[in-house]
Symmetry: D2
């Protein structure tokens, strides 16, 4: 999950956010952008390459905080636009159900999902993006991979914090596990 | 659910279908077509007006059999095109999960979902349709109703076989219960 | 949702919690306790009668905050035990998927779910409880109602903040809408 | 999926079933029996060792047809009792939602799920079983494996027809992917 230093008035300052991160679970969204064919079948999964909180250069999901007074689906759109640009054309599902809930802990052994900065609870969504996706704001690269590539040991090893498991769960959810 | 007398060679004849209907649960899809806004929120639900197996003129879902060798998502597209025309532009979700499974029995008290002809098990999907939807093949009318209209006693009373409950479950699934 | 003034060291003080509530969405769990028959079908839904944040005496779900470093499923168990006692014997599903995500806003018109104190995002679960459920810690009463009773206008009118819609969504999810 | 030659009067004879299998998708249930800890977390997954339709000796799920006039949840219980004995004590979820829908085709390349005998559409459920599970009626063995064992290449290679992917999807669904 990426740094999310939102400075709009009325939201948390960086200092306050640090303080809250030591005392409350922070609500996130994890987004798995996908390309689908004309029947809705997933052909590709989009992964960023970015600097992660643990200092590594890793492949990563689109991810970020839900802000005060923001609806979850608006947070999903905002983070897609922030990470992939305003031409990504995400199509959100009518239902607000996440396909899973990812619990990231500072202690890596609780769930296997690890965030050294905080206890984050991320609602995870698979979101078809029909438009042009380009890495923005700090990401180094964005690539569309096939489900088989995503599930390969090589690509899984390039993800950290347990996000490879989130990608596998997304593939399972859409019936695209190789 | 509507009559589905598919006469393509290799599939069941009407007589064979009648026979199978007395001995096997028949796999169906129930489709709730919806209009969504640019954030994916449901603004309208589409209902047909049609002659039903029980002889009534009722509001009804798009619905029909899954054929031999047909994928479930292809059956969803086929029935939408059959009932709403080829310009409906359905957008199927990447995931094959139905939002619920509807069990229709010849005996109306088993589940409250009733089909006098058969034991049908319908995988139910909410499908955004962005295009022009027009009633075809035997339906009398097709209308877009707001969630509040759909959930009203008046509209619920115009549905038979328990399909009003399916519509309510679809509204619940998309967070649009009034 | 009930007041949740947890005073364990390391967690938020009341003052800090008030401050966070003005700046961050707060993660909650909403729990719909149910009685099931031997095939898992829901026969009854459990509702509390309690003083609500808006000052009313209302029927309410089991509900409360997820704490720092606490897993979501542990929060579910903790709030059931807090509200229904330690003999409730909840049986949590293996899957961490909520049946829906409820977004409560201080502004009642955003989603129709209203919490005057805060922006709360609640993961909602239906949890079979086989044991003895008794109202504890501030609730006035706990009753098992049939699905038809829950869905009646009379009972829905006794719930506030939009929780009647959460109960309806739970009934839809378990196939028990009347 | 196992042979399911149900000879009760009123249901299909073997000959009629063969005929129907050439013309209709046949409705199945796929069951992944699990052991859970006292918080509902999956600790073990149960797999049968049995003769499969393709002639192999393979690890397999509990699986079988839904009969005419039978509710899906009754089919789940019946197949668990048939395959694991009457002391398995399955606990079915209140919700009728399958965690996925598995489409098995005679042609192995359509979905990767393969059944040489028929087009079967299986509603898949993860079912905690607290009792004693013993292989009955034709299975050679029944074993409880850890999620890590199930996901290993060695165990996956012992499954046929794509059922290893169903097990992986079940692990993903319950948050137990290694």
């Amino acid at each position: 999950m990426n740094m999310d230093l939102d400075a709009r008035p009325g939201w948390l300052s960086s200092g306050d956010l640090e303080s809250a991160r030591e005392r409350l679970p922070i609500l996130y969204v994890d987004v798995v952008p996908v390309r689908v064919d004309n029947r809705g079948l997933v052909t590709h999964v989009g992964l960023l390459l970015r600097a992660m909180p643990d200092g590594s250069i890793s492949r990563a999901l689109v991810s970020g905080r839900v802000l005060y007074a923001e609806r979850v689906r608006d947070a999903v759109v905002r983070h897609i636009e922030k990470d992939l640009g305003t031409l990504a054309l995400p199509r959100l599902a009518p239902s607000p159900h996440p396909f899973t809930v990812n619990e990231y802990f500072p202690d890596p052994v609780v769930t296997g999902l690890h965030d050294p900065r905080q206890h984050a609870v991320a609602l995870a969504f698979v979101v078809p993006c029909d438009g042009t996706c380009e890495p923005s704001q700090g990401a180094l690269e964005f690539s569309w991979l096939t489900p088989a590539e995503c599930a390969s040991e090589a690509v899984r090893a390039e993800m950290t914090g347990g996000q490879d498991r989130v990608v596998m769960a997304a593939l399972a959810h859409v019936g695209a596990l190789p």
